[in-house]
């Protein structure tokens, strides 16, 4: 049911493990649902002075699709400026994995949400202005989380 790409990332996930002194961390998902993703970011300024993702690590509890999407999100995001990373959508993740089974699409959303949350928390901690659009994305994620928690 899974594509070869999914199986490859599942068997040999890239960038997994925790990170020492991360700049920012995003965690989404819920134990009861069986999927929890934690994303660590190391953010630095590049030569043009823009914030970019110098290093990224993930830890995931979940099914094969959850692990594979986590791995792919780190691949897509590493080296990108935060501005570019914020553009990553779940359809990019699905494409990079040569498609996902319909019942597993929500896993790709979770991976992208973890990235959004990590970036959001960085913006908050560094007192940066957050666009209305990005604030809305964050709100959607936390409402979804609290709905799942009860």
């Amino acid at each position: 049911m899974y594509s070869q790409k999914v199986l490859q990332h599942f068997r040999n996930p890239h960038n997994f493990g925790s990170m020492k002194d991360p700049t920012s961390v995003g965690q989404v998902g819920n134990l009861a649902c069986g999927d929890v993703m934690k994303l660590y970011l190391k953010i630095e300024a590049n030569s043009k002075g823009e914030d970019f993702i110098k290093d990224i690590k993930f830890e995931t509890l979940g099914c094969a699709a959850a692990i594979a999407t986590s791995s792919v999100v780190t691949e897509l995001a590493i080296g990108k400026t935060l501005k570019e990373a914020m553009e990553i959508e779940n359809k990019d993740v699905i494409k990079a994995l040569d498609d996902l089974p319909a019942v597993k699409i929500h896993c790709s959303l979770l991976a992208v949400d973890a990235l959004i949350e990590a970036i959001y928390s960085y913006f908050k901690n560094t007192n940066q202005t957050i666009s209305a659009d990005f604030e809305q994305k964050h709100n959607r994620i936390i409402t979804c989380q609290s709905r799942l928690k009860h």
Partner: protein, 508 residues
């Protein structure tokens, strides 16, 4: 050169080192029933020849010095045996050339074999999902084959000799089930699946007895086909009580007694649970139902053929048994219906199976099912003992070798072939997939592996939190399961669990 017991024992001992990192002489000696001193001498010779090397330390012992495929049998034999081979060099007897040829050929053969040839090079494939479905026993297939041929192609309802040949075969099969269950022939009908049998019981009893009442009692750990049939009846005005279970998945008999009302028409409780393997006290449940004059049905899909069942002694009115769980063909099951039970068929038509299940009778499948059932009956005592030992060995070793793992279900009121264990901080679907890479087939109660994305209702009913049921694995053993297969699982499983615990954000 010749090969003595020394080489024989040497090779047997070496075979233990092929798949292992390191092993002590004592351990191998014990396993192969060789004296430790003798084996120590053999290993010293092999070490001298550069085949083995010593590992020091607490877990020390011997290890292969090179890859198994690089070590030829010639080296091993030469290290262990005296070099002479019949004719010494000064000999000039008539047969000398013959011996030389034998010596050359012998050396070539030994040179061509390596330690790799000691192991079975075929990829191991370990099927531990017998509760999902079993392979067809070759004896069953053999029994079925003639019934696919022209002679038996008649419809059992036809009056001609073709028809009566088929119907005779079906009646002999029916007798087999009547004997096993201790009931009359006329109380057994054949259906297409256990799902069909269970649907017929719930819907058929509900339909016929609704004047008496519209209340049905089931347990909360029934198979989906009972759960869903009950839900459907609920939508059509019936009231369903779902009995809770304790942490071992056992139904509380007092709760059952209290749940039975004057309008209760049926109690249905699964015999051996398909997920956690718990075996209910069916006899006691049957007695309660009998005293209260309520029909009692049990889904014995997992227990039939594995646990003795006597429908009279156990006060059972209706019982479901399935063929593909007992090494019979898929697509056939049976239903015991006690004479006098008021039940409406699901399928109306030509009046087959005493008018209770219309459909042309599938002679070969029924013959196969009956053969499978009698094989199970013959082997039951021996097989139960063998599987129980393997089961308990597997449970004990998993629980001791993997931290934060715990058994689901009852420790001994349990199907001999069922093992269900939860592992903290991991998720079942990823475990299943990883095990599949090692050619091990198992099953999980995780939501992620089900299309509904809901965790197993059975595990939740036993009080497990959703996350505990996501991390559950079921291994079910069967007729073709061997100890080496179980050992292979025990070797692979800890590293699989460990891999995903390392990826998990939750740590011990």
């Amino acid at each position: 050169m010749y090969i003595s017991t020394k080489s024989r024992y040497g090779l047997r001992a070496l075979s233990n080192l092929i798949s292992q990192d390191c092993c002590s002489v004592k351990k191998i000696a014990q396993k192969e029933h060789i004296s430790s001193d003798y084996l120590e001498k053999i290993f010293a010779s092999l070490k001298k020849a550069g085949i083995l090397k010593v590992v020091r330390g607490a877990n020390g012992g011997y290890i292969l010095n090179r890859q198994p495929k690089e070590i030829t049998l010639k080296e091993v034999v030469e290290a262990l045996e005296k070099p002479e081979f019949s004719c010494p060099s000064f000999c000039s007897c008539h047969s000398k050339s013959i011996w030389q040829k034998i010596q050359t050929g012998f050396n070539q053969v030994l040179q061509s074999l390596t330690l790799n040839d000691l192991t079975n090079q075929e990829e191991k494939s370990v099927y531990l999902d017998y509760a999902a479905s079993t392979p067809l026993d070759p004896q069953v297939l053999k029994e079925m084959l003639p019934y696919f041929e022209f002679d038996y192609s008649g419809n059992t309802m036809s009056l001609h000799s073709f028809g009566s040949k088929s119907s005779q075969a079906v009646e002999v099969s029916r007798q087999t089930f009547a004997n096993i269950l201790n009931c009359k022939n006329s109380e057994i009908i054949f259906t297409g699946s256990a799902t069909e049998s269970n649907n017929m019981v719930l819907k058929g009893i509900a339909w016929t007895n609704q004047k008496k009442g519209k209340h049905i009692i089931i347990s909360s750990i029934e198979h989906d086909c009972v759960m869903e049939s009950a839900k459907w009846l609920e939508k059509h005005g019936f009231e369903i009580t779902r009995l809770s279970v304790d942490k071992y998945a056992l139904v509380n008999l007092e709760e059952l007694k209290k749940a039975i009302r004057p309008d209760t028409i049926l109690v249905s409780v699964i015999h051996g649970n398909n997920e956690v393997g718990t075996i209910q006290d069916i006899e006691a449940i049957g007695k309660i139902c009998k005293n209260r004059d309520v029909y009692f049905h049990t889904d014995a899909s997992q227990s039939f053929g594995k646990v003795p069942i006597d429908v009279q002694k156990m006060n059972i009115d209706l019982l479901t048994a399935s063929s593909h769980k007992i090494y019979g063909p898929k697509g056939v099951a049976c239903l015991y219906i006690k004479n006098g039970t008021k039940i409406e068929p699901l399928l109306h038509g030509g009046g087959h199976e005493f008018g209770l299940r219309s459909s042309t009778v599938n002679t070969p499948l029924i013959v196969g099912f009956a053969k499978a059932a009698s094989l199970c009956q013959q082997e039951m005592v021996k097989e139960t003992k063998r599987l129980t030992q393997l089961r308990d060995y597997l449970i004990k070793n998993i629980l001791t070798s993997i931290p934060d793992s715990f058994l689901n279900g009852h420790p001994d009121k349990r199907l001999a072939n069922n093992i269900n264990i939860s592992f903290a901080r991991v998720e079942g679907e990823s475990l299943l997939l990883e095990l599949d890479f090692y050619h091990i087939a198992a099953s999980t109660g995780s939501a992620c592996s089900s299309n509904s994305l809901e965790p197993s209702h059975v595990l939740l009913a036993t009080g497990l939190k959703p996350e505990q049921s996501h991390g559950s694995l079921r291994f079910s053993l069967g007729r073709f399961t061997t100890k080496p297969e179980v050992d292979y699982l025990l070797k692979v499983l800890p590293q699989v669990i460990n891999k995903f615990r390392q990826i998990s954000p939750f740590k011990a």
